[in-house]
Amino acid sequence: MKAPSWFAGPIGGALVVALLAAFVVPGMAGDYGIEFATTLVLWIALVQSWVILSGYTGYVSLGHAAFVGAGAYVFILTWGAVPFWFGLVAAGFTSGLLALIVGGPCLRVRGPYFVILTLGVAEFVKYAVINIEASLGKFGRLMIGTPEPVDIYRMAVGLAAIAFVMALVARYSRFGVGLRAIRENEVAAEMTGIRVRWLKVGAFGLSALVPGVVGALMICRTGYFEPLQMFSPQLSLTIITMCVAGGSDNPWGPLIGALFLNILSELLWDSAPELYTVILGVVLVFVVLRMPEGIYGTAVKRLARRSRKAVPGETTP
């Protein structure tokens, strides 16, 4: 299916927002604002990439950290040896390749088995890298001459825009219809002519491209690579949290989830530095209990209900 014409709207919108974010925000926000915005935008890129596999197909991956870490690792290995942009691209493609390799066997397993298997694979990759680094006599690697924060921020904005468009196109294209059919009923999907395996592995590979680049940008920010931090399972968990909080059937939910969680934690952190993690936990629990379909899903439903009430006689929203 060719991209329908209305794609032009959201894609154009994403571009405008990205350009504004890239060139207006730095002028308004101070150094700290840029750091916060970079963090936010990198999270947006991550959740958009995650949703392509896990949101659309229902194969919930707890292993996204492996791709962030692998990208960061490749980036630091090639640091100084290849041009900067080449390193970024290499980071993305290495993660994508890693996903294609592990995706085939992993995606044979469904449901909870897949969730924990991806966690296991990510931990395996992490400790493999730790062992490789140790055997090379490395104890954390330093990068000197990383880009200025403002430039990292702009790259992150670009990346998030790419990730958003990828998630959007993946959602509303033939590919995305197939992925969602797999989520709804894999057997029926296969019987309806969907090459289930190709689609799943393809989605896995696609969803790993962006995190690889995110990993590279993350180590650019601190100028330091250490496997234990870059492969942290906490990162995978946080991605899922944002996506579930926002709703994960389309790119908007995760976008809202990432905004919600980042801004909330920023506000809490600033006003209640001691208690903020506790409050954040309570809010998360509340969100799930009150909005099981995520903030976006629930909001859409409420709006639909309201408009239905407003226009009596109309049967469907």
Partner: protein
Amino acid sequence: MTALLEVEAVGKVFGGLVAVSDVSFTLAQGEIVGLMGANGAGKTTLFNLISGAMAPTSGRVRFEGCAIEGRRPDEICRRGIGRTFQIVKPFPGMTVAENVAVGVLYGARRRTPSAREVAAETDAVLAEMGLSAMRDKLAGELTLAGRKRLEVARALASRPKLLMLDEVMAGLTPIEAAGALDMLRQVHETRGTTMLVVEHNLRAMMQLCQRIVVMHHGEKIGEGPPEVVIRDEKVIQAYLGAQA
């Protein structure tokens, strides 16, 4: 008439259990054939063997002259075999229109359709199945009759040359069942689709099918025009005996 589907001495064994044994029959282009038999006779297993959900232990299945047994279900679908499930499997979280669009997008065709073509074809199938009014409802919210209809619609959307229907009338009220019957006849009339139908409703089978294959304990025990088959002594004994 050329044979569209040829089932040759197909057998399936699960562990030690023989589910289907040495079944052969053919379907001609444009024919509607019924598959009858008591519960456990092996009808659904035979469906699974043809549609690729399972590989047969022995025998061949040819579609348009090509051996398809043991191939992946998605490939078989794209070759032109569509099916429904006895226990319905719609995509519950997608709308009715989206369910049908999956068939349009991934079913048998030579090139990827454009968005406009998908929309047009989806609308056409929805109209054909009488589902237009429910197009934006979630499939999971439909009644059983609606979901069964939707399954047929989704299968039809994939432009099958052969449509395999697994008890699309079971569990429906008599009025709903009559509606379904009319709908299938309509489809056959306008599209000329070949059909293989499993149904327990004897009257419906008599009205719909040109020929009936009867199975019992995994074996084929009879075949012929409906009015002949139901008078067959062996069939009555096996079928009614098991029913009673």
